[in-house]
């Protein structure tokens, strides 16, 4: 198996990309979930889709755009979308999730219009929708790695602040934490992570890696630290299985990743249940 890695560059690219995405997705996911914003990931993913479609259209229509990877236009759209989210969140304090349906439908609408305007692309749009980890190239890996570094830096700098803001925003602000700046930076980070994970899990499944591993660890963790650690562990497990299923069984990598995450979650629920039954009726 490991000689495979050394042998094939594309396999190495896929593995590196998977490890990075499997690390940063649940990391931002934990904060989204505890702030009850997990659907934001989905909304931004749909905005990213319209960005990718815009990129593909430009590639077709504008000569000098040919060399630009549509992931970059996707990322740009996603960043703009994340700023919109923060704006809506500050306008509607008690309806913070209102940005989700607006972006979700707006993103899809724009994406569909752009795709139809282009009258079909010669690239496989399904690769963006469902992910194609084995097709990650050198340039994309560089983008993913760059984003990975930014995300890790963000959490190194703002771990404390993000915790305080997520637990009790009002109190955090009173202790001198700047809500506006840090929330905006966080949303930008979410947008970047989504753009980066498109190649691995695909737009339709981006939020899965951000939320399902977190849901699984929330079942048994007490502390925030544990939750972060276990979410990353579960997500790595899922990414690795998806990668190997894609290679050996020729299954869709994104779908496998999501299914394995769900399987982990179900397994944990089952184990919890069994433990509870045994506690109640100890075998004597």
């Amino acid at each position: 198996m490991f000689d495979l890695l050394i042998q094939y560059e594309w396999m190495r690219n896929a593995l590196y990309a998977g490890v990075i995405i499997g690390f940063i997705s649940p990391l931002v996911g934990v904060y989204l979930v505890v702030r009850r914003l997990s659907l934001i990931a989905d909304a931004l993913a749909h905005v990213t889709l319209s960005g990718v479609a815009a990129g593909l259209l430009m590639q077709k229509e504008v000569a000098w755009f040919q060399g630009v990877n549509p992931l970059y236009t996707g990322m740009f759209f996603s960043l703009a979308g994340s700023m919109f989210v923060e704006k809506v969140r500050s306008l509607y304090r008690s309806y913070q999730e209102l940005a989700i349906p607006i972006l979700l439908s707006g993103g899809i609408g724009l994406g569909v219009v752009l795709i139809s305007a282009a009258d079909g692309f010669n690239v496989d749009i399904a690769g963006y929708l469902f992910g194609s980890i084995l097709a990650v190239d050198e340039g994309e890996l560089t983008l993913i790695a760059g984003i990975g570094i930014l995300v890790v830096l963000f959490f190194l700098f703002f771990y404390k602040e993000m915790f305080a803001l997520s637990f009790d925003e009002e109190h955090a602000v009173l202790t001198g934490i700047s809500r506006k700046i840090i929330n905006l930076l966080f949303m930008l980070v979410v947008a970047l992570v989504i753009a980066a994970s498109i190649r691995v899990v695909g737009i339709l499944l981006v939020s899965a890696l951000m939320t399902i591993p977190v849901a699984a660890s929330l079942q048994f963790t007490n502390s925030f630290r544990q939750t972060l650690i276990w979410s990353v562990v579960f997500s790595q497990l899922a990414v690795f299985s998806g990668l190997f299923a894609a290679y050996y069984l020729d299954w869709a990598s994104g779908g496998t990743i999501v299914l394995v995450s769900v399987a982990i979650l179900l397994l944990i629920l089952a184990v919890k249940r069994i433990v509870r039954i045994f506690r109640r009726n100890p075998v004597s």
Binding site: F167, H171, T175, L218, N222, T227
Partner: protein, 252 residues
Amino acid sequence: MKEHVIEIKNLHFSYEEQPVLDGINLVLDRGQFLGLVGPNGSGKSTLIKCVLGMLKPERGEIRLFGQPVRHARLGGRIGYVSQKANSFNLGFPATVKEVVASGLYGQLGLLRRMGRLEWKKVDQAIAKVGLSAFRDRNIGKLSGGQQQRAFIARALVADPDLLILDEPTVGVDAKSTEQFYALLTELHRHHGLTLLLVTHDIGVLSTSVDQVACLNKRLFFHGDPDEFAQREQEILTQAYGHDIQIVSHHHH
């Protein structure tokens, strides 16, 4: 001369059109323990939010430690437990220790991480409120009273000079309430903490605080508890309106 910890001069505040605070004047000196009472909707929480800089007064002036309040900053000198403190997301994955530690984060500033000294402060604050045995428990799995104490520990951890508590004993049983007031008395007497306590529990006024203020849009009374006890009926009728029913367990 005593240092004025809080100094409120001619404070006016209204949310939309309707005035909520109307010409409040109030001074709290270092080391004093003020109990603030008033009916629901009388503006107690609003007054506190103005003091903390979370709301901007329409007119008037508020000084904290002699400085005008501009920004919403506790800056380590003020600890605050809000009325809504335990309406947090009960499924939040955080231990008591992590929650209490977050009281230090603003003060630590960017880039600085929790060191041994900081964790020691956290442990001390948890011990002060009697939660040491629950240090590593999930905050959502504590009882309401225990959660409340955890929030007080979070307010105490930065070693404030002034502690502001907005109805901290709502939903706390009688025994825990008693322990809680004992804790406040201890902090006040032995650690010289200045305290501002919003409460509906008139009984506590005669036993724990050394100043009473009665608010309903205007300040109806501000003085010591003995004077309040003597004129209680008259003051409460004025502030609460005529047919009052308030918690009052006096020891006759």
